[in-house]
Amino acid sequence: MDILEILRAALQQALGPQAIVFALAAIGLNVHFGYTGLLNFGQAGFVAVGAYGMAVTVVTFDAPFWLGILMAIVAPLLLAVVLGVPTLRLRADYLAIVTIASAEVLRFVFGAVETKDTFGGSNGLNGYAGPFQRANPYSSGIDLGVVSFGRNDLWSLTVGWILVAVCCVLVWALMRSPWGRVLRSIREDEDAVRSLGKNVFAYKMQALALGGVIGGLGGMFLALKQASVVPSDYSTLMTFYAFAALLLGGAGRVMGPVIGSVLFWFLIAGLGSFFSQSAGEGGWIPEVIMSDTQASLIRYIVLGLAIMLLMIFRPQGIIGDRREIAIDGR
């Protein structure tokens, strides 16, 4: 058993690009669900639209790179309007149904043969990230002892974590304001907010758009880092991982989604490394009990169990406020 190897694998993921993508997706979800109480089960759709918004603009339409970046923000904004206008006046569950369906529809459209000329089919799009890679100011990678990142990764991570930090500051600034107070009030009881003269629909729309755009930035980052976009990245699994990260860290807290995402990938990678060392040849778990393949999957069971236990013993998440949970919403 190589503890250092487990730690290395875990940290590499916890600080790596995956954690950034899911941190951004979860920050967006936090605006939706944690602060406003909107049930968006299609965050993957917003992430995808951010990534494709940029890639399609640059590759398919041959537009300049900066316009691609702009479209990574505009496209999720449009999606929010399209989804929000018909559903946000209705009961909360309608948004949940519409978002989960639209995220899947988008993924199929992006991957379809019929739209291959625009979206590149199941192979996706590439060849748009040149300006990003050329802007890399680092001449070499970094070796921190336990973990090390190559030159390109280091550049991506720098940009990615700055993006996360900027989003966190923005969310913090917004949520301490009267605007944020209206959002949190809508989460509690929207009729009360209406009775006080606030246009609840407009606030929900703004929240949906803001959270969607932050999710879209996650897609843009993923697309820049990978230098390609493929539809299979944006499955419902992405939404559920983002929710898991959010609940793990603590919904309705500025840093909740970030801590949750880092922890989520730390555990996934750490447990993966632990079980792959433990099972199979040379491992202490005999082949009869667990095979190699099983070892690579058991981490999801353990993680699921961990989240269940967390919800039972610490339902507010790692950094949530115990007092809030103690309140019953009579």
Binding site: P178, W179, S195, Q206, R330
Partner: protein, 311 residues
Amino acid sequence: MDADMTDQSNSEIKTGPAGLAGVSTEPGAKKPDPILVADNITRTFGGLTAVDVEHVEIQRGAITALIGPNGAGKTTFFNLLTGFDQPNTGSWSLEGKSLKGVAPYKVARLGMVRTFQLTKVLAKLTVIENMRLGATGQKGERFWAAPFKFLWGAQEQSVTEKADDLLARFLLDKKREDFAGSLSGGQRKLLEMARALMVDPELVMLDEPMAGVNPALKQSLLGHVKSLRDEGRTVLFVEHDMDMVRDISDWVIVMAQGKIVAEGTPAAVMADQRVIDAYLGAHHDTDLSELDEERLEAEVEAEIAQEEDSK
């Protein structure tokens, strides 16, 4: 009988701000200076007609009580007037401006603010945050201004001062930093009323404001409601507490089975045979909630019997 009643009420009537002296006591009576006028409002739920109001006027600057047995349609009427529910027919206007089809938040902005029979406090916000939410025209509630505290910090301070003032008046200042969800039922009623006042409404509509409020507090609440009138606001409230109705209202409107069955000064209404029949019953001073229950039971039984008959 009517003339007789007017005589009797004239000695009782509070002149001054209410200005209701000499108003007819027929249901739907014209008022000298109505702030709210409603016509032909009906609302049915399936086969049940919950509200069927032909005409009603609410006098500006007066305290009007809306009384009636449980299920009379008072809450539904409130919901219709404030846009939280849509009527099958009818029109109504505030200060001459039609409110038909106007969204609830716009109704509130026009100066008509209501509280709920089942309180709607924002459980996971503190009491003071609940109060601050009520203030209108907050610059910091606009998305683009929100991230920049220097744009709204000063206004937030004045909002907070006003909120603290009201909290002190409603004896909730000690609960300032507590989550609203930790308040008792009576305290929630108080908070909701105080929060509604943050809007600076012209017309305050209170749905059973005294339910669950302890007797000592009731007295001071009565004082607050009266002071609202003294500030020139109009108050319309639903209440089962006859002492409160008698104490503070300038005018009483009685609803039963969706219709307005009587109007008048408190003294006149409580002496009115139609009201006694519809609501107060023979035991004028016995506990009303008990009476309501009995009545409700009787009604339900009658309904069941009717349904069985029709089969």
